[in-house]
Symmetry: D2
Subunit: 350 residues, 4 copies
Amino acid sequence: MELVTRVNIPSVVRVKPGALDRLGLYLRRSGHSPAVLLSSQGLVPEYLERAERSLAEHGIERLETVEVAEASFEFASSLFTRLPGKAAAVVGLGGGKALDVAKYVAFLARRPYYATPTSLSNDGFCSPQSSLTIAGRRRSLAAALPHAVVLDLDVCGQAPRPLWLSGIGDLVCKLTAIFDWKLAFRRQGLPVNDFAALLSDATVYQFLAQPSFDREGARLLGTALMLNGVAMEICGSSRPASGSEHLISHALDGISKRPRLHGLQVGVATYLVSLLQENQSERIGRVLDETGFWEAVRSDPFSLAEWRQAIRLAPAIKEDFFTILSEPGALDEAERLLTADPRLRACFAD
Amino acid sequence: MELVTRVNIPSVVRVKPGALDRLGLYLRRSGHSPAVLLSSQGLVPEYLERAERSLAEHGIERLETVEVAEASFEFASSLFTRLPGKAAAVVGLGGGKALDVAKYVAFLARRPYYATPTSLSNDGFCSPQSSLTIAGRRRSLAAALPHAVVLDLDVCGQAPRPLWLSGIGDLVCKLTAIFDWKLAFRRQGLPVNDFAALLSDATVYQFLAQPSFDREGARLLGTALMLNGVAMEICGSSRPASGSEHLISHALDGISKRPRLHGLQVGVATYLVSLLQENQSERIGRVLDETGFWEAVRSDPFSLAEWRQAIRLAPAIKEDFFTILSEPGALDEAERLLTADPRLRACFAD
Amino acid sequence: MELVTRVNIPSVVRVKPGALDRLGLYLRRSGHSPAVLLSSQGLVPEYLERAERSLAEHGIERLETVEVAEASFEFASSLFTRLPGKAAAVVGLGGGKALDVAKYVAFLARRPYYATPTSLSNDGFCSPQSSLTIAGRRRSLAAALPHAVVLDLDVCGQAPRPLWLSGIGDLVCKLTAIFDWKLAFRRQGLPVNDFAALLSDATVYQFLAQPSFDREGARLLGTALMLNGVAMEICGSSRPASGSEHLISHALDGISKRPRLHGLQVGVATYLVSLLQENQSERIGRVLDETGFWEAVRSDPFSLAEWRQAIRLAPAIKEDFFTILSEPGALDEAERLLTADPRLRACFAD
Amino acid sequence: MELVTRVNIPSVVRVKPGALDRLGLYLRRSGHSPAVLLSSQGLVPEYLERAERSLAEHGIERLETVEVAEASFEFASSLFTRLPGKAAAVVGLGGGKALDVAKYVAFLARRPYYATPTSLSNDGFCSPQSSLTIAGRRRSLAAALPHAVVLDLDVCGQAPRPLWLSGIGDLVCKLTAIFDWKLAFRRQGLPVNDFAALLSDATVYQFLAQPSFDREGARLLGTALMLNGVAMEICGSSRPASGSEHLISHALDGISKRPRLHGLQVGVATYLVSLLQENQSERIGRVLDETGFWEAVRSDPFSLAEWRQAIRLAPAIKEDFFTILSEPGALDEAERLLTADPRLRACFAD
C-alpha cells in the first residue's frame, strides 16, 4: 500500500562555521540532556574545550568525557553496559575512531547520536555502519545514521592536509564503486538502486567542480560525504560507496606493515581500477593532480610488493561481491598498471 | 522516540537510455495492471506509441489513454471521479501539464503514479505538488511524490532546445532560492532545513560543472531536478526550489500577454535577483552564456513594461514569504538593473 | 531492509469526559491556528458553542464555521478550493456526514484533521476513507486517518439511543467481516493480514464483555471503533470491517424507500449472515437482545421485500469481493432465514 | 509535516494451529535463508524437531541450532560476533530466555527476527526490549519488535498450566499499570499516550471475557500480549505494560531465595496494588479465581518476609517512576493487605 519509499536521514544537520560552539544549543533545542561525550585520543585540546564549554553554556549536563583510543566492539560494548540510564544523548567528537565508537554506543543504547567530526577524512561520520574490530579483526557493523551532524566548517577547514586528501580519496571512489555496482548487475543481476546511485554520483561532482581547502571546500566535501552516507542507508548496502578500490584498501589494511590513511589508499586504488574500468580515469587523475593528492602520496610512498599482494587478495575480501577485479585477466592487468602508468609508478618506493 | 527522520523518495527510479521502452516492464515488476495513461496534447506520436507498445508487450492492460490539454483541478477531479475502480496505476507521459494532472489524479485515487517526462523543462516531474488552475487561477496543490520516475535519456536528450533551456533556468534558480531562504531565517527566523538546502544546492553544481545537451547532460540535469523535488518533500515547503525569482515569474504569468516557458522566465529572474543578492551572479551569468540561454531569450524578447510591473507585484504574490525583494530599496534597484545590466538589457524588446 | 512494518495511527487521541471543552487546547499544543470548523446540520447547538468557545479560549483563530448538509465529493471539493491558504487545521464536529466531508477537505489540503464525533454511530470517525457521493452515487474514497481523535465520553454517552445501537451494529459486524475475509482466503487466496484481523477481532470483545450506555460504554465502544479504523489502515482494505453484511446494507441504501441508520441495517445483516456462516450467531443475537437493539429495529420495522431484493443484489455490489454470499445456495438460504429465524422475523413489517 | 504518526508492527503475524510446522514456509516467502535457530534449553524435543523439519522442507538452510541456557548480554554479544555474515534471519524458539537472546542477536545484526514462542508466559515474545543480565544484573535493553510472530495455538495451548497462569498474571497487570501511568500524569505531568493506553487496556478484556486453556484461549491471550508489546513500542516506554506491580516483582527477583515465574509474582502484586488503587480489584480477583491462578500460587506459597521487604524496596527500583506506591502511606497499607486480604493471605507460607 505504500506508494513511495521512506528512508532515514539525520534529523538535525548543521554545516556552518562555528557550529562546534553551538553544539550545546543543538542538544538543548532537542531537550537532550544529560549527555555523554566521546572524543578522539589526541584531539586538538581547544576543540574539546569548545565542545564542553558549549554544552555547559546551554545547560547540557555532561555526565562524562571518554577518550577513545580504540575502535573495537569490545570497547564499545563495555561503554554501553556502563552508560548511565539517564544519558539522553551520545556525542562523538573528533576523528573516525571516536565517531565509530560513539555511533555504536548510541545505537546499542537507542539514544540520539551527535556526530561532530573535526576533519573530513572519510564518509564514516554520516554512514549507517560502524567500522569496529571484533577480536582484532575489522568489521563493518550495522548501526544507525546519526541523529545530528554538526559540521564546523572552520574546524574541518583547518584540518591537516593529509586528512583532507584522504577525504578526497574517499569521495572519488564513488565513481568506481558505482561502476562496479552496475557491472555486478550486468554480470550477476545484483539489483541497482538507481536513486542511491544517482545521489551518490551527484555528490562527487559538486566538490570536483571546484576543489578547495577552505570553508567552501569543506562545505562541498562535507555535503558530498554526508549524502553518500545517506545513499548507503537508502539502498541498505555499501555498494554506492565502496567497490573494488575498497577491496584493495581492505586487503592492504590486513597485510601492510604500516597502513596509510584510509582515503589515501582508496584514492590510489580508485585511479587504478578506473583504468581497468576505462571509466573517467582522466578526470580522476586530474583532480588528484590539482589537489596535491599524488604529491602527498609520493612524499611517503607505498610498498609495491604489498600492493601486488593486496591486488591478489582483493577479490576474496568480501563474499559474493562482484567487481571489475572479478573479470578475467583483471588482476594481471592491475598489477601491470602499477608500474606502467606514470601517475601510479611514482607512488611506490620499490 | 525517533532518532532519525524519515522522508519519502520515489520507490522506482529508472534514468537511462531506452527507459521509455521498458515502461511496461517496470509496471509489471510491481504488479501494477491495469493502468491508465495520461499523455500531453501534441506529444510526439512516436513516444505515445512506444509507451503503449511497452505496456502491451509486458502484459499491462491499458484501460484508457487520455489526452491532457488543460492542467486544472476541475479536469483532474473529473478524471478521478470516472477512474475505473480496478485501475492499479496512473501513468503520466509528456510535458508539465500531463504530468501535473496525472500526479493529481493518482493522488486523489491513492494509486501509484509513474512519471514519464519527455523533456526536462522544469522540476515538476518529481515534486510533491501539482501546479493546477482552480477557477482559472494557478495554484500549487499538495499531492505526493511519484511512485516511479521513468526518465528516458534519449527521449529527453532529443527534446527541443528551448525546453532544455527552461530546465536550466529552473535549476540555477536554486542558488537564489536558497539565498532567500537563509535571508528569511536571518530576518524573520523562518527555520531552514539544512539537509534540504544542502541537497538542493548540491544538485546544481553537478550539471553546471559540465552542461551539455546530450544523454549525459540529460542524466545530470534530470538527476538535479529530481533531487530538488525530493528536497522540497523533505522540508515540506517549496523554499529550496523557489524564491524571489519565482515570485517574479508567477507575477509575469498573471499579467503577460504571452507568458513564456516557466524556466526561461525563471532563469532571467534568477540572474536579476542574484545581482540584488550579490550571490554568484557571475557563475549564473556565465552558465547562461555557455548554454545559449541568453541567445534563446533574445530571439523572442520579453516586454520591459511587463517585467517592471511584475517586479512591483512580486513581493505580494505569496503571503508571508520574505525574500530579497522584501528588503528596502530592492524593487527600485531591480528595476534599474533591467536596463543597466548588459546581459539583462538585451533580453527586452522595448 | 525494513525489518518491521510501519503503520499510521492518529497522532493525538483524547478519549475522556469533557474532551470537547479542551478541543482548543489540543489545537494549541500542536500550534494549529487558524482553523476551519465543519459541523453537522442539526447538531445540538450547545456542542457547537462549546467547541467554538474552547477554540477561542485557547487562542485558536476560527476562520469559518461551515454547516455540512451533504456528504458529496462535489461539496468537499468546493470547500477545498475556497479554503484559505492560511488554514492550519480542519475540525470536523458532529455526525458522519460532517466528519466525512471534513476528513476529505483536510486530505485534499494536506492539513491536520481533528475528528470530534458527537455520537458513536459508526466507525467512520477514525477510518482512512470518506464515504461521499459522486454524482449522487455513494463511494468510499481514499483519504487519511485523522491527525487527532477528540472523543468526549459525556457527549457521546448522551447521544440518542438509536445512534448507540447503530454503532453496536457496526461493531458486531467485525465478526462476520473477518469470517468472510478468511473465507475469501480459502476460496480465492486473498491474503489475510493476521495483525489487522486480530486487532479488529480484539476490539469487539471488550465492549461485548460489558455493554452499557454510559461513559464507560462510550469509552469501550469508541475505542473499539477507533481500533477498527486503524485495522483498515494497516491492511489497506476495508476487509477487517466490512463483509457480506455490508454488501446487504449497501444494496439496501440503493433500493430502500427510506434507508435506516447504517449500523441498524448492518447489525441485522450481521446476525443474518452469521447464521449462514454458522459463526457465533448466539453471541451476536444475545448482545443485540441485551442492548435493546432488536427492540429498536422492531419499533420501525424493515420492508421484507426490500431485504429480499437487497440479498439478491448484494454479491454484485463490489467487484471481486468473495463472501459467504458467493457460496452456492447462500442467497436462497439467506432469504429463507428472514422469515424462519424468530429474531429476524420480528424485524420485518410485511 | 507529518499529519499522522507512524509506528512499527511486526511484518508477519501468524497465529494459528500448526503454525510451527509452517515456520519454514514463512521464512521462504520472505526469502530469508539461511537462518540461525536459537532454542530454549529443555525445550520439548518434538518442537525443535518440527521447527527444523519445517525449515528443511521449505528449503531454508539452517546454519546452526544454538541452545540458549542463559539470557545475558555477554552471551548474546558473543553469539552476534560469531554470527555468519550470510545469516539472513534469526529464529527464536521456546521460552523467554531463548526469545530474549534471539531478539537481541537479531537486533545487533540488524537481521529479521522470527519469534516462535512455545508458551504464553509473558509479553516478551513481541516487545521491543530484551530482558538480559549485564554482569549478572537484570536489565531491560532496547531492541526491536520481531519481524515475525509465529504463534502455534496448539503448541501454546498445550503448555504447562503454570506458564499459562504466568501469562494471565502478565496480562491483568495492564489494568494497574495504566492506572499508575495516569496517576503519574496527574501527580507529575508525565505524558500519557492515550492510543497506547487504550490499546493496552483493550487487550485485557477480550481474554478476560472468556478465559480458557485451549486453542481459543491461546488465541485471545496471545493476541492480548502481542498488542500489549505493540503498545509499548508505540509510546516508547514500558508504561502501558508495567507499573507498581512490576516494581514489586523486580524487587522480589533481587531478594528472593527462589524467585517464581514472572507472571505469578506479577499477578499477585497486581491484585495487591489494585486494592491500593481501588481499581477493579473484584474483577481481577475473580478472574484469578476462575482460572485457578490463586490455587497454583498457594500450592507453592511465597515468603511473607520477602514480600514485605520487596514492597519497601519497590518504589526505588526505577528512577523517576511515580506509581501508587509513591503515595503517602501506600507502603504501610500494602504491607497490611498482605495478611488482611483473604485472597492474599492464602498466598503466603509464613
